[in-house]
């Protein structure tokens, strides 16, 4: 959610039950403004909160002018001091895939994972148990990246692509109409498109290249991994992800307010196919 409309956004996203306490809100409002100034971001988003056993991580993201450029991620334990996280790499993803369980809440905590590694010493080749230490910070980075790639969404028309390349916020976005707001095809993944290239020409013919340049949620696998609900007496549409429980996206139809926030344990719901 945009840091500028933090309070309203938190109210709208409160249907999922988790939000922020007043002291956190106050500290966020001030600290995110400072982050925006110090790091020279075009826009700062409050991404969410990852619940750890001992402490919680508060995550923010900074965007540059081009909305689809890789975002910078910052974390804080107390909503006052923010530290920049390194960008996610594939190695990190592979490394942290073996870690299970909750986040501890301590960024320097190290998970121990024993692996069998083949060690070649001269002519002998034997397997040795190696204890690999994975830092929680690495895990945090890769989890945030996975969540972003999988379930960060944006309504259709909120961003538009100029012929010169950069993607801007559409200042004349008036919100989705009510009939469109309930359809999954009106929401896009807030990331570089992956499936768009695979579409046939026939499908692409009806797309508007300045608006439809991202993947829509329609073809997400598994089907049904989004829960679309109307709250507040049909005045608010809320999408909740079932793959990463805790991700809530809200949008008030016919207005400009929209956003998403993640408040959860940072664990993927692998049992999703059984649960549908």
């Amino acid at each position: 959610m945009d840091a500028e409309s933090l309070l309203l956004s938190l109210e709208l996203a409160s249907g999922s039950g988790q939000g922020l306490s007043p002291d956190r809100r106050a500290s966020l409002l001030t600290s995110l403004t400072l982050v925006k100034r110090d790091y020279r971001y075009n826009r700062v988003l409050f991404w969410g909160r990852i619940l750890g056993v001992v402490a919680d991580y508060y995550i923010a993201q900074g965007l540059s002018e081009n909305q689809l450029a890789p975002r910078k991620t910052l974390y804080s334990l107390n909503c006052v001091e923010w530290s920049l996280l390194p960008p996610a790499t594939e190695e990190m993803a592979a490394q942290t895939a073996v870690v299970k369980g909750r986040f501890m809440g301590d960024p320097s905590h190290e998970y121990e994972h024993t692996e069998l590694q083949r060690v070649n010493e001269g002519d002998k080749a034997f397997e040795e148990e190696v204890v690999v230490q994975i830092k929680e910070e690495t895990r945090l980075v890769s989890v945030i990246d996975q969540i972003d790639k999988a379930v960060a969404i944006i309504p259709r028309g909120a961003l538009f692509k100029t012929p010169f390349g950069p993607i801007h916020i559409n200042r004349t976005f008036e919100g989705l109409p009510l009939s469109e707001a309930k359809k999954l095809s009106s929401y896009f993944h807030f990331r570089e498109p992956v499936e768009l290239r695979n579409k046939t020409l026939l499908e692409k013919a009806s797309l508007d290249p300045s608006l439809d340049f991202m993947d829509s949620l329609e073809h997400d696998i598994p089907k049904g991994s989004w829960s679309v609900q109307m709250e507040r007496g049909n005045a608010l549409v809320v999408l909740r992800s079932l793959l990463w429980p805790g991700l809530t996206f809200y949008h008030t139809p016919n207005t400009k307010s929209y956003g998403y926030v993640y408040v959860g344990t940072g664990e993927k719901n692998i049992d999703l196919p059984f649960m549908l």
Binding site: G17, R102, F160, T162, S227, A235, F274
Partner: protein
């Protein structure tokens, strides 16, 4: 704003001055550069035309054409730099129309040389006091627009605009060293056609624009008129960057005009309905209208607790629904309390579902209130049980009659564990759900132990509809209402906690021994509870206790021996009884007794099942203690002083660090026990038969010899 139209000579000086100042500045336009020599000559042409013109209607187009032909102004490269100057000068000449500044605004983008051209043209027009031009602006904005639209803001877009002898448009002449269409104008040395040909060209251009588009009645001309009207009316900031959007919306507005104010917007219908329903929540119950509201009325006690206070404290911990939602829930529960005979009620929480969510209220009926719906359910169950023994008796009779009866299956379904009585154990409270405050409340049925046992084995999302089937393996006995009730029971039993000492056992309870080790199952509030300091609550889990009974693996809170037969089952033949006895000896299941502290709870993978926090680390003096369950994500409890409350907001599933493994299907059942009667044996071969026969003969011979021997022995003995 200086409104004095300056003398006609001024315009001639103006481009000069601008030209002079601008020539030194670097060019930043992307258009091709022009030889400087063009400017003076073209300017002269322009001036002569400007002064000579009297026909206002065609003057502008003529000018525009001239401009577009003759590079009447400084080369393109310098144009963008004219923006600041032009803006400055335009202020002096502004006629209150505000038109030039807009164009200045466009020009400031740096991409619109045409805007500049237009500006200057129009300025000149205005300065000449051509009132007709002015009028053209005021009235339907038709022609100026058309002409503006004609050459547009992007010179490249409009391919036409140059005069040629043969027709209105100069197509790209390959003889020219550069493409006129790229330039946006025709270089000065091309001949200019006669005035009447120009009029013809204008009319042709306009006719082309008025062509209606395929499939609709809108022509480009009208569309551009609408578009520019809209822009001028709304005056958006930075209209160039939103040009495409404006284009699209203007088109769509043409085809989808705004709905008449008298008609209701069909899209908003559900919103209005919901708002109506919620409005009824806000009206005070029964009685007279507002005029009869008396302040002397006693403020009666209400059974609904102070939900707003609980919501406030939860919000301190970052949990819970928004304040207005909590208030609506409070009103909805008040409505529920009026409709049902409620003794106490509590907001239990919210269970999220796929298409709708459930708002759950925990309710206790007044003493003696019958739950009518439940009795019907019980009768059905009992009827079913009665039918079974009859069926079996008939089968036995048949068996006796038939000579060769099929073997009866010896498997009997295990006896169902009886459901707990209302107001005890897992059924201590009644639960009402609604999908949103304002909608009617629905009551959830009581939970049976079988449902709890099965609910432990499956993991399904709630859809939001109470009558949806729960498709799972092992099959869940019931629909979503039962599954929801079972999950609510599990969550309550696991996560309802209170500070140590808040509840105590009543003094009138008998000893534990009398109750057969089942433990005490009731408690009452401790009037002497002093409250535990928040810091201590956060530090140690021993300061919290469960006040909900633990559910045994059997599915009940108090253990029941499944082998105890009810009276109906004893009517069965005695054969089955004897078979069952002695086969199983079920151990009594024991769970932790009531009011056990949380420190006794089992860990999840070396992690404590509870997390405690102070709500605000910056002001510990006024903080609230928040306890979060790691076993049931979404269950929270707050406590401060003598107040505490539990809530659950979540999906309704337990946390498990391992993946969910669905139960495998049971192995195929055996039809018959294998034994010699039905086991297939291979026939003996010929050799075996012969061997057997030989052996038998030998045996026979051996016995005969023995008999003979015995007879001989006897004979011998008798002889002696």
């Amino acid at each position: 704003m200086g409104d004095q139209p300056p003398d006609p000579e001024y315009p001639s000086r103006q481009p000069w001055s601008r030209q002079g100042s601008q020539s030194s500045e670097p060019r930043r336009s992307r258009e091709l550069s022009q030889p400087q020599a063009l400017s003076e000559e073209a300017r002269q042409m322009l001036l002569s035309e400007a002064q000579a013109s009297q026909d206002t209607r065609s003057s502008l187009p003529r000018h525009s054409l001239r401009w577009s032909q003759g590079a009447g102004l400084p080369p393109d490269g310098n144009l963008p730099m004219m923006a600041p100057d032009a803006r400055a000068t335009s202020l002096e000449y502004s006629t209150g129309l505000g038109f030039p500044p807009e164009f200045q605004g466009y020009a400031s983008e740096g991409r619109v040389s045409a805007g500049e051209h237009t500006t200057q043209l129009l300025l000149q027009q205005l300065q000449q006091g051509s009132g007709g031009f002015f009028q053209q602006f005021e009235s339907p904005y038709q022609d100026p627009r058309a002409n503006l639209g004609q050459f547009g803001f992007y010179p490249r877009e409009e391919q036409f605009g140059e005069d040629t002898p043969h027709g209105p448009y100069l197509r790209d002449d390959p003889a020219l060293p550069f493409l006129p269409s790229d330039l946006g104008f025709v270089p000065f040395h091309v001949e200019m056609p006669e005035p009447h040909a120009r009029e013809l060209a204008v009319q042709n251009a306009k006719a082309y624009l008025l062509q209606t588009s395929v499939g609709c009645e809108l022509s480009l001309y009208e569309h551009l008129v609408n578009l520019l009207t809209k822009i001028l009316n709304q005056r958006p900031e930075d209209p160039l960057s939103i040009l495409e959007f404006l284009n699209r919306t203007t088109q769509s507005e043409w085809f989808h005009p705004k709905v008449d104010t008298l008609q209701d917007d069909p899209e908003m219908q559900p919103t209005f309905e919901m708002a109506e329903k919620q409005k009824s929540l806000f009206s005070r119950g029964g009685g007279g209208g507002e005029g009869e509201q008396e302040m002397e009325e006693e403020v009666t006690e209400t059974v609904v607790p102070n939900i707003m206070e609980a919501a406030f404290y939860f919000q301190q911990g970052g949990v819970g629904l928004s304040a207005d939602e909590s208030f609506r829930i409070f009103l909805a529960m008040k409505q529920l309390a009026e409709q049902q005979p409620v003794h106490t009620c509590r907001f239990w929480g919210k269970v999220l579902g796929l298409s709708r969510s459930y708002v759950v209220a925990e309710v206790e009926f007044r003493e003696g209130e019958e739950e009518g719906e439940e009795e019907e359910g019980e009768e059905l169950l009992e009827g079913g049980d009665v039918l079974e023994p009859h069926g079996e008796e008939e089968a036995e009779e048949d068996e006796e009659k038939a000579a060769d009866a099929l073997p009866q299956p010896t498997w009997r379904p295990p006896p169902a564990t009886p459901r707990e009585e209302s107001r005890t154990g897992a059924n201590k409270y009644l639960y009402f759900v609604c999908s949103e405050p304002g909608r009617p409340w629905a009551r959830l049925p009581h939970v049976t132990p079988a449902q709890i046992v099965q609910a432990r084995k499956i993991r399904k999302f709630f859809t939001g509809h109470l009558d949806a089937p729960v498709l799972s393996y092992p099959p869940f006995p019931g629909n979503e209402a039962n599954y929801l009730r079972a999950q609510i029971a599990r969550i309550s039993a696991a996560t309802h906690i209170s500070p140590l000492g808040f509840y105590q056992f009543g003094e009138e309870e008998g000893d534990e021994e009398e109750e057969g080790g089942a433990g005490r199952d009731s408690f009452e509030e401790n009037p002497d509870f002093e409250g535990i300091p928040v810091l201590e609550l956060v530090d140690s889990m021993a300061n919290w206790v469960h006040h909900a009974q633990h559910i045994l693996p059997q599915g009940r809170c108090t253990w029941v021996n499944p082998l105890q037969k009810t009276e109906e089952e004893e009517e069965l033949g005695e054969e089955e009884e004897k078979a069952d006895e002695g086969v199983e000896e079920v151990e009594q299941e024991v769970g932790p007794p009531l009011l056990t502290p949380l420190s006794e709870d089992a860990e999840i993978m070396h992690m404590s099942p509870w997390t405690t926090r102070l709500s605000c680390s910056l002001c510990p003096q006024y903080s609230v203690a928040i306890v979060r369950s790691n076993l049931w994500p979404g269950a929270y409890t707050y406590a401060i002083g003598k107040k505490f409350e539990n809530i659950y907001i979540g999906w309704g599933h337990k946390y498990s660090p391992d993946n969910f493994n669905p139960a495998l299907p049971a192995p195929a059942q055996q039809e018959y026990p294998s034994g010699p009667d039905i086991a297939e044996m291979s026939d003996p071969t010929v050799e075996e038969e012969q061997a057997l026969k030989a052996a038998q003969e030998q045996a026979l011979a051996a016995t005969e010899e023995e008999e003979e021997d015995e007879e001989e022995d006897e004979d011998e003995e008798t002889d002696d």
